[in-house]
Symmetry: C2
Subunit: 345 residues, 2 copies
Amino acid sequence: MPEEHSTAPAAAPAAGAEKVTIYDVARLAGVNPSTVSRALNQPGRVNAATEKRIRAAAESLDYRVNPMARALPTGRTSIVGLVVSDITNPVFFDIVRGAETAASRQGYTLVLTESEESDQREYERAAQLLRMVDGLLLATPRMSDEQIRSLAAQKPVVVVNRLVEGVRSIVPDIQAGIAEAVRHLSGLGHRRIAYVPGPPLSWTAGRRGELLAQRCDWAQLELVRLDPVAPTVAGGRAAAAAVRDAGVTAVFAYNDLVAIGLMQELVEARVGVPRDLSVIGFDDIFGADFTTPALTTIKSPLREEGDLAMSALLGGIGSGDAPASSAFDPATALVVRGSTGPARD
Amino acid sequence: MPEEHSTAPAAAPAAGAEKVTIYDVARLAGVNPSTVSRALNQPGRVNAATEKRIRAAAESLDYRVNPMARALPTGRTSIVGLVVSDITNPVFFDIVRGAETAASRQGYTLVLTESEESDQREYERAAQLLRMVDGLLLATPRMSDEQIRSLAAQKPVVVVNRLVEGVRSIVPDIQAGIAEAVRHLSGLGHRRIAYVPGPPLSWTAGRRGELLAQRCDWAQLELVRLDPVAPTVAGGRAAAAAVRDAGVTAVFAYNDLVAIGLMQELVEARVGVPRDLSVIGFDDIFGADFTTPALTTIKSPLREEGDLAMSALLGGIGSGDAPASSAFDPATALVVRGSTGPARD
DNA sequence: CTGAAAGCGCTAACAA
DNA sequence: TTGTTAGCGCTTTCAG
C-alpha cells in the first residue's frame, strides 16, 4: 500500500504530475536559474535573444511560478484577502464582485474567508489570512476597532462599511439616499412613518437610524422608532405586527432583507402594500425586485465600494506611507419601485 | 521620502510590524528551532515540559506559522481552491457555504476564484490557483473535459454539477425531484406542459430537459419544449410570450432565475399564477420565496453538494490512489409553494 | 528527546 | 548582460 497520508487530500495526482521549476527551464535554455527569474519578471533586463529562448523553454515545459517559493524571499504574494461576515448574505455579492474586478485588474488574486458569526473567529481567520496576503479587505467587520487596528499595524488593511479611526475606511454616503427617500415619501403625503432598526451593535444600523431621524426632523415628518430586529427576513416578519400597530403610513426597514420579510408578513395579513402601507429598504440587494410589488430601496453602490476599497488597498494612497482614516463616500440613491405609493387617507 | 513601491499595496504597516518566526520562539524558549517545529506540529513527540514552555513562548510572542514557508518543504499548503463561474449567481452561495464548512472543519482554508464567463480564463485561473492549493473544487465548470482532466492529473480535483469521466464528480440526482414534480402537476390535473430550456452548452441544462421529457412521457403528459434562453431573470422574461402561446397550463423553467423572470413578465401581462398558469423552477436559490406567489421548485441540495465535494476532496477516497469517476448523488426534492395550482379548465 | 544541517523554489545583491 | 551565492521560514532526515 502507498504512503499513509490519512489527512492529505485524496485522489492522488496521476502519474504525470511533474513540478516544473525554474531550474528545468534554465537547463533547457542553457542559462542560469537566476537569469530565468530575471527574464520572466523584469523583461528588458536580459538580452532579447536569451529572453526569447527562455520564454520558449518555459512555454514548452508549461512552467508556472510557484507563488509560495516566490513569496519567501520577497515577502509579497500577489494575493489579497477579503473577509466577510456571511458569504450567503447578498449584500456582499457585489462587494466581492467589485473587489475581485479591481484585484485581478492589477494582477492580484482574491482570497475569501467568512467568519460566519463569531467576532472571535473573524479575528482569528483574518490574522491567519494576513500571513499569506499582501493586504486585507474587511467588509462590515464584527471585530473590535482595537483588533482591526492591530491587523492594520502589520499589513495594509482597508475597511468597508465601517469607520475605524486610523484605518482606511470606505463608507457610502447615505445622506443623499435618505434625503431623497424622505422627500419621496413626503411628496406622497406621508406624515408619520416608522423605522425598524437593525442590530444595536452594528455600526451601519446606528448610522442609518441616526441620519434618518435627523432628516425626518428636518422635513417635519414624525418618525416612530420601533424595536430593533435581526437583519434577516425572519427579523422583518417579526416586526410586522409592531409596524401595523404604529399608526403609520410608511415604514423604513433597516435593510432589504428586513423589508422583504415585513412585506411577506403584511401581505399574508392582507395589508396592502403600498395601498395601506409603503415600505422602503436599504441596499438594493439581489432579489429586491423579485417581490410583488418590487421593493423601493435606498441603493448602496456595493460594487463600487468593493472596487474602491480594493483600489485603495492596492493603489498606494500617497506612495509609501499610510494617510490612514478618511472615507471615499460613494453616493447612495433612491430606487423607486412598487412598494411605495401615496399615503392612505 | 520613503521607498518607491509604486505597485505595492498602500497603507504601509505601522511601526510595530515585526514578523515573529520560529527562531524567535526557539530563542525565547531556549531550544532549537527544529524542536519548536516538532512541538507545535506533532504534539507528543517532544518532552511535555519543553512543549509547554515552547507553547507559552509562542503564545506570548503571538507567533503564527508562515504558510508559505511551510509549504515549501512540505508541498502542502492547507489551502483548497474553489472555482465558480459567477460569484453573483445565487446557485453558488450554498455550494460555497457547504465547501467552506467542510474545509474549515478539517483545518483547511478555502480560496475562491471566479471565471466570470470565459472558459479560457477559467482554465488559466484554475491552473494558477492549482500551484498554491492542495486540491481544487470546480463548480459547474465551463472548461473542456480535457482541461479538467489535465488539472486533475496534477493535483486532486473534484467537480460539482457535471460528470467528467476519470474525475471525481458530485452530481445531484434530479430524478427524484423531477418525478415528484411531474406527479404533483399530474395530480393537479395538468395534461400539457411546457419546458423552457437553458443554454444548449450547459451540461445540467441538457440533463434536466432529457430527464423531464422521459418522465413526462412515462406519466403520459404532453411536453412542449420551447426555445432555450439565457439562465437569467432576463431570459425568463423573454420566454414569457412563447409560454403563453404554447397552450399549456404549466411550465418548467430551466432554473429559478428563469422561473422568476417568467413570473414577473406574466404578472405584468395579467396572467394569473397559478390560476392561469403554474410555474416550477429548479434549484431553490436564495430569493425563490421572495416572489408572490412564492416559487414552487425542485430543490437541489446545494449546500450538501458543496460539503460532499469538499469532503471527497479532502477525505481520501481510498487512502492514496484515485478511484476517479463515480457520483455521490445527493437527492433532490420538490418544494411546493404558491406558484403551482390546479390546472385551469 | 533534542540539536545540527540540508534543502524546498525563488529572488536579489554582488561579482564577473 | 549573465553567473554566483546567500538566504526567506520551515520541515525533516540524521546524529547524538
